[in-house]
Symmetry: C2
Subunit: 744 residues, 2 copies
């Protein structure tokens, strides 16, 4: 076995030793330079030194009693190395040519990672190109998303409809299926949306978690209906990001043995050699995080070591594996390989020609040699056969385990159980006042009984966020079938892991939680929820200065506005129990839109006018003493300030005026309403309007209009008991009345 | 020496071994339980086992030729262990009593970390309580900021004015100097603002970087005028956060030998035992990151090991040191120690009594025994003596090195050199069109020549963000006097490091850079810039869909709005060269307010009406064909869309109308203007208004008014060439004209 296990003793304690070894390896063993080839060794020069045909053909899971019957497996012939090299160069040139045509993109990674890409998609992974959404497929995540032409080329060779030749030729163009970074919502076959570095590896942890969880819940000793690997390629950039360390720490803790990550160790990032900013020992760090680590010293041409490393990774079932694959970025380009110049720009005609010559590639742009396409065409039959075999297994499973099969099929249909919403609790104005974070826990626990896909937890604040599902235990290495997730203080990875769980596409409905202020830590992941249509539920408590003494580091101010400004995310700020239940109802129903629930730490009264149904309108009348649609004043509020608005309304009514109070539980949902509905609650003729909300006033002009007033907080908070803070910041009925009188 | 170096061989490769050892240690060696004391061993039980007086008294730097003359050092007597214990218990009970009085706060950490706190503030650190801002003081950062009563108690004992007894008694109350988390802007003696976990350790890296940089620039073989350590206490929570890994990786890379971090290894986080989510080997990870690691197995009572660890840490000058100090959270509380119950809530009267009894503390609340205050009173004379000695050294330095001394004194005065702004470049409408990111580089390089404090860099995007100062090299381990920082792909740590550099208070003016979209990765640090009055400059390029093909993962939409909603941060979107220079002028001048510059990737023309001075107004007229203050239409735009607004204006003027165009370069600055100025550019009588900006329209209603229109993008972007995108998203003069006609 050529793969070298890097144990800690070999690389620690001096950081940089591993790097030095790798450097020496590149200089001596891998990329002995010649004057003609510059710093890199093209395949041409080793094409005579052909390795023996790889013993590792594509195999189905030995341990999967049912699936190992897969008829497709036996039909896979062994592939000779010349053909493998031709396939790898096809991938490289599809990437080169597409970037060249777009005059934009990142050729370096596809050129360096083509070997591992080929081995994964041609020899290792099981998938069905005719049904990119087949449940039991292996998942692949390109965490280094800028290298997306690698994946598009692979999807093309494998026969995915989204990546036909004309799609590759439309790389990075308006309306194409091949955008500048992988986007699951544009390209069937792409699992998640990557590009922002470090997100993908954390998504992969979520995908692997989903598999481990469902396998524990549904597999039987004689039937593994849930059984796939999650593969990921990440680069130096991903490994520098904090989110990847958070995610890797959790993956190690959870022992996600079917997560196999390839670290594209090419020593180059945009600013140049990683020596200038990244000299830690990545392998030693991953070992410290509980991963199994393997080092493939020559990822450019030593295909057998890549194969052997994957085999070894699969044999380690209690830990995730990180395979460090040392590669040359832009492999094949005589003048740009191993430099940042090849990372993120087209090679240019001259260098493309030089690379063609260097790699002996005498084909026109976008050419796939016939033997290569003939070889890959097997996946068009193998894939459907794999799926059919799995369907057969599922049918057998259904015979033996009808109850489990019913739940499993319900889940993976991604449809909600009929009538689930009847389990949502309702409240009356007489129900005892409570914090919406507590009401949220009541709702979560009610939903947990009827939604088999509900899974989630908090970033070390379960007892503050009130997110535990009491009937379930913790998802842990020994208990992966449980549903309470313990993320530790790792908000950013939490968000990205939850995205992975969503986009596993198996009907799991994940929620996650922290203080609302700490959305700042996971905002990048939340934005990708919104962009990638992952219907995650963000349970964000301690939603204002109302949290009191912890002070301004913990008090959200601009956060409501910052999410209201973000596309495709629902920002809820419920005022009581019914609104909390109503917010969850919509959050669960909208599987392609994430939801954020901002919940109070402090107790709030239940409103007489609230209901689950009203939440769907976004804003609605909770109190009104006007008879026509023309009150003297409209007060708008959300969450904990609805109570203040109601008090202010009563004070003004006592002076003989008519006042309407609106609860603005979700601006996005209000914007979805008809013009008629909007006019019915917020008539244009009434310009005397005041908003009150314990947050930035930014944006409220949309509803108060130019003549209205906004009561809010446009400075940072402070450390003091809640009642003092509300008074000092003017969040009082008296202040609302005073502002109202300015405009009435 | 009792401190045990944890080498990797001892703890790797099985994650959890170190934890198991620590657990065994706690159970056997440290905290042998007795029925009476529950799970913890109070000091009472070991008070007879008194260690020999510590040989490590407070010493000045041996290597500091000038400073070692410090008269104060000789006067420090050795302290006997009984007094140390009494001091430590004083700290514990000040924390307990303050939390109890506030009925809010976090007693657990102060109780566990009191020993290391005492040793640091009484025996190790040099500071002057009479001048918390003395330049050459050691810096201390409580990254686990929730434990702030530890620091307040220490500042009280040390004699800082901000933490008098009445301040401690006002813990967490409105207007007090002792807020719920450490806030540098409230409490002199607190260096940075912490609480959001992981920020503090990254701030500490920035503080240590500032020291290393200034030491390299100003120290001479015979005179070390810059010479202090940076100490930090961080907990399990900080160590789980990705930002801390990013920062630690950089600290290791940079070899910041005078950074000494104490990891409060108490095995408890809010959700319970860290076993549920945090089982990695933290020490092995830090070793992989290039740190020197030391393990103090018994941080509760083994004071000599803490002292020895600090000595050892100081002896390692080429690496930062992480001292893992295994402690018992809530040490002394018989029923709550070693549990999450003691983390974040008052102990309650009964448990406070039990803790008093358990630790033999027969004093009333808020009591400082006379011998303890007598002992600590030395700092009131030692501190001024240390500063006076340093001033003397500085005077001697000034004699020998007048030029360097002048620059140094200019820097630490934190005043800008007179007339620096004359170096800012200006442009005319005839200057060649250019991207504002390029113009930004021109300005940065011009400023670098006249601002000795300018230091900064990018998160691996220097050649895209255009942030290199061409006359300087890279700040690296071997070249710490250089001023280009290479952060790697570590945005979050970058922001927090920059905060540390700002709050070092030595006149350094740090900037940092990434793509505007990736503010999502460092938003938590940017918010702390704003809150903690750190005048960092955020150079954020690729500021809209104008970046083109990289697509929606890279295209900011809601980001302008999200910063406009944040308090105390200036959001600039300059339209050309003069506006870029003007934005930098203000960013540099406002040392207590961070600035964000959103800069274009694409070329923009220079405007005839722009100037550095106009930027200060926030919004101003760039083009107008009306004679009175009543144009038929006002078009508002920012950055790259000003050009579009100008074109639209010309098209409408061609139809005989009067149109005014405003460049809205900074909303915050516009809000600072007088009502008269606002009316002069945006007259209330003109309601025909259109805004155009390549971002969310959210918030623009403030200026367009109820009757106006907003042209913008309220969905995610797409991957395509820039011209296509602008057309498809309606960011065209034609569309602005169409919207204008709806309201004219």
């Amino acid at each position: 076995m050529a793969a070298l296990r890097c144990n800690v003793a070999a690389v620690a304690p001096v950081a940089g030793v591993a790097r030095a070894v790798a450097g020496a390896e590149r200089a001596v063993g891998v990329a002995t330079p010649s004057a003609a080839l510059g710093r890199f060794m093209g395949l041409k020069r080793v094409s005579n030194v052909r390795a023996a045909p790889a013993p590792v053909a594509r195999v189905a899971q030995k341990s999967a009693a049912v699936v190992t019957k897969a008829v497709a497996v036996e039909t896979l012939e062994k592939t000779d190395t010349a053909l493998v090299e031709k396939s790898i160069n096809t991938i490289r040139f599809l990437a080169i040519d597409a970037v060249e045509k777009a005059n934009s993109g990142h050729p370096g990674l596809p050129m360096g990672c083509a070997p591992m890409g080929h081995i994964l998609y041609d020899e290792v992974m099981k998938y069905n190109p005719k049904n990119p959404y087949w449940f039991n497929r292996d998942r692949f995540v390109l965490s280094a998303g800028h290298g997306c032409m690698l994946q598009y080329a692979l999807l093309h060779l494998a026969g995915y409809d989204a990546c036909r030749m004309e799609d590759l030729q439309q790389f990075r163009q308006w309306g194409s299926k091949t955008p500048g970074h992988p986007e699951n919502f544009e390209t069937p076959g792409v699992e998640v949306t990557t590009g922002p570095l470090g997100q993908g590896i954390a998504n992969a942890v979520g995908l692997a978690l989903a598999e481990a969880h469902l396998a524990a819940r549904f597999n039987k000793p004689d039937a593994k209906i849930v059984d796939h690997y999650t593969y990921c390629i990440l680069g130096d950039g991903c490994n520098m990001e904090g989110i990847s360390n958070e995610a890797a720490s959790l993956a190690g803790h959870w022992g996600l043995g079917k997560l196999i990550a390839f670290y594209d160790d090419n020593h180059i990032s945009i600013d140049g050699d990683t020596e200038i900013a990244f000299t830690e020992s990545v392998d030693a760090r991953f070992e410290a995080l509980g991963w199994h680590c393997i080092w493939v010293k020559n990822g450019n041409t030593d295909y057998d070591s890549i194969r052997a490393a994957i085999e070894e990774a699969k044999s380690v079932t209690d830990k995730p594996t990180m395979i460090k694959v040392t590669t040359t970025i832009g492999f094949g380009s005589p003048n740009k390989a191993n430099s940042y110049a090849v990372h993120g720009a087209a090679l240019g005609t001259k260098e493309v020609d030089a690379t063609r010559q260097n790699l002996g590639w005498e084909h026109p742009p976008f050419h796939v040699p016939e033997e290569v396409s003939a070889h890959w065409s097997k996946h068009l039959t193998d894939g459907p056969a794999l799926e059919a075999s799995w369907e057969e297994s599922l049918a057998a499973y259904e015979q033996k385990y009808p109850e489990e099969a019913a739940e499993f099929k319900q889940l993976i249909s991604q449809k909600l159980p009929t009538g689930w919403e009847k389990a949502l609790p309702t409240f009356t104005a007489e129900s005892p006042a409570d914090a919406t974070r507590n009401l949220s826990q009541t709702v979560l626990n009610a939903m947990a009984r009827v939604l088999p896909g509900l899974i989630g937890g908090s970033a070390d604040l379960a007892s503050s966020n009130m997110t535990l599902m009491k009937m379930f235990g913790d998802f842990q290495k020994a208990t992966p079938g449980e549903r309470n997730l313990r993320f530790g203080v790792r908000e950013h990875a939490m968000g990205a892991i939850v995205n992975g769980i969503c986009l596993h596409g198996s009907g799991l409905i994940p929620y996650c939680a922290t203080f609302f202020i700490f959305t700042d830590y996971l905002r990048a992941a939340m934005r990708i929820s919104a962009l990638s249509e992952a219907g995650a539920i963000y349970v964000m408590t301690h939603d204002s200065i109302g949290l009191g003494e912890d002070g301004p580091t913990h008090q959200p101010i601009e956060h409501l506005a910052s999410f209201r400004a973000m596309p495709n995310i629902l920002m809820f700020r419920p005022a009581d129990g019914n609104e909390t239940a109503g917010a969850y109802k919509i959050a669960v129903e909208r599987r392609k839109t994430p939801s954020v629930l901002a919940l109070s730490r402090q107790k709030l009264p239940h409103l007489a006018g609230s209901s689950i149904e009203n939440v769907a309108k976004g804003a609605y009348v909770v109190s009104d003493n006007s008879s026509s649609n023309k009150p003297d004043l409209i007060i708008m509020a959300s969450g904990s300030e609805v109570e203040i608005g109601m008090k202010a309304a009563d004070m003004i009514r006592a002076e003989g005026k008519t006042v309407r109070v609106l609860s603005f539980v979700s601006w996005e949902l209000f914007e979805e309403q008809s013009a008629e509905y909007k006019e019915s609650v917020l008539p244009a003729a009434v310009t005397a309007r005041v908003s009150v909300e314990a947050g930035a006033t930014f944006g409220w002009e949309r509803y108060t209009g130019s003549k209205g007033r906004q009561v809010g907080i446009d400075r940072f908070g402070a450390s003091a008991p809640i009642n003092i803070l509300y008074k000092e910041f003017g969040l009082t009925a008296e202040n609302v009345v005073a502002k109202a009188k300015e405009v009435m």
